[in-house]
Symmetry: C2
DNA sequence: GGGTGTACTGAACGCATGTTCAACAGACTA
DNA sequence: TAGTCTGTTGAACATGCGTTCAGTACACCC
């Protein structure tokens, strides 16, 4: 159930290298890089731990290969998918079909959260695509103009990733044994409501803050930690 | 610079137990539980690793003590603070004064993300307070009514935590060497804009989805993974 | 057949790290 | 002074895990 492409090719047909890579992707995605150990990956791939090292050199290099592979898979999907939805709209895609690319998206979220070597590239892909979509939407009038489209793009990516990796403890706020995907589904509608009408009934907060920013004009980047 | 209460009491005045606890809270908050090792905690507290075990029994028990302590500190703040802002409005509080309770809030976010023993209690506190605030706001007309206030509460907590723990890779979308707090500041305004006016210029998406939900009425909780 | 190279394995090594243990110093008590 | 209890330490132990190594099986080539 943990194969990267459960539909097309069976595990048995894959080379040992591919089986190891797929097992690693699955375990890195679900358990994280640090927590996953080579022997578990080897066991799931049906090989010995030594073979993992033999083929990939080290655990760290294995992670890099996995990063590249997942990145390529997701980018390939984006390119092949003629619709406008790119890597950014992962949540809507996920809600539409949770099984497809489930693992890859989860892997990416983990990679960004754990700051893996390719994390910056994952993040940049998402943010850039998101920004393009937002700018296009603003131009064609389907989205409201933003004071900072770049930051808006980062915000949407951030919330999307958060929803994809919703912590168990938070999901349990819906009930003792609710699943992550189920929690996501329940959150989807309020998200859409906020994205459509906002949360506040009036703009007192917003105007107050914007006035504050205009009058005070603090030097941006005052990091006094 | 890592003391829990940098303002009131100096580290030198604390008992060894307190110094260990504070060092543990700081390191758990910044590096995570798994990544932190007892010798590093002991070093920061200026004691030996054995003493940590002597006072707390095990690393896991130390974590539980830290959980309790931070939870109590944050709840005490909520109670003492006569304003309406509870644990939920952590982001606004943080933006107003990043140094106060910085560590505790960071600790909580980590605890929830890593599913620490007290994670559910942290999350429940946040969600319940958030829900109360939202319901109050809806009642007094300052906030728009929601189809699912509970889910809305979870959503706001989720996004708040995500902003507090924004991954480096995402923050770097603003520039190669931008800090987490700086990224948060830049995201704050778009967040407020969305919370005030939404993102979409019209409600086609929302009506489409609500229509879909009304007609299809899928059995909620169909977890086919 | 003999040589060479590749896929693969089990055992072992080395290091990090949580934990245990024996010991010591100082305070308090009898 | 002797005894005991607490705070504290350094060394050692045990385990987990990434990695190394010697060796086996098998294929391909001369």
């Amino acid at each position: 159930m943990r194969s990267v492409h459960p539909d097309d090719r069976a595990d048995a047909d894959l080379t040992a290298q591919a089986k190891i890579r797929n097992a690693a992707i699955a375990q890195f995605a679900t358990d994280g890089f640090q927590k996953t150990n080579l022997r578990a990956i080897a066991a799931e791939a049906g090989v010995s731990a030594s073979l993992v090292i033999h083929h990939f050199g080290s655990k760290e290099k294995l992670r890099m290969i996995c990063d590249e592979y997942v990145l390529e898979v997701l980018l390939a999907r984006t390119r092949s998918d003629s619709s406008v939805t790119g890597m950014r709209d992962v949540v809507s895609e996920y809600l539409a079909d949770p099984t497809e690319y489930h693992l890859e998206v989860q892997y990416m979220a983990r990679a960004i959260a754990e700051d893996s070597p390719a994390a910056a590239r994952f993040a940049d892909s998402m943010v850039n695509e998101s920004e393009a979509i937002l700018r296009a939407g603003i131009l064609d009038g389907s989205m409201r103009p933003s004071s900072d489209p770049r930051a808006l793009a980062v915000l949407t990516v951030l919330t999307s990733l958060a929803m994809l990796t919703i912590p168990r403890a938070l999901a349990r706020a819906f009930g003792p044994d609710i699943s992550g995907p189920a929690a996501m589904k329940r959150i989807a509608l309020p998200t859409l409501e906020i994205y459509t009408h906002g949360l506040y009934a009036n703009d007192t907060f917003l105007t107050a803050v914007t006035d504050l920013l205009v009058t005070a004009q603090p030097d941006q980047g005052s990091n006094d930690d």
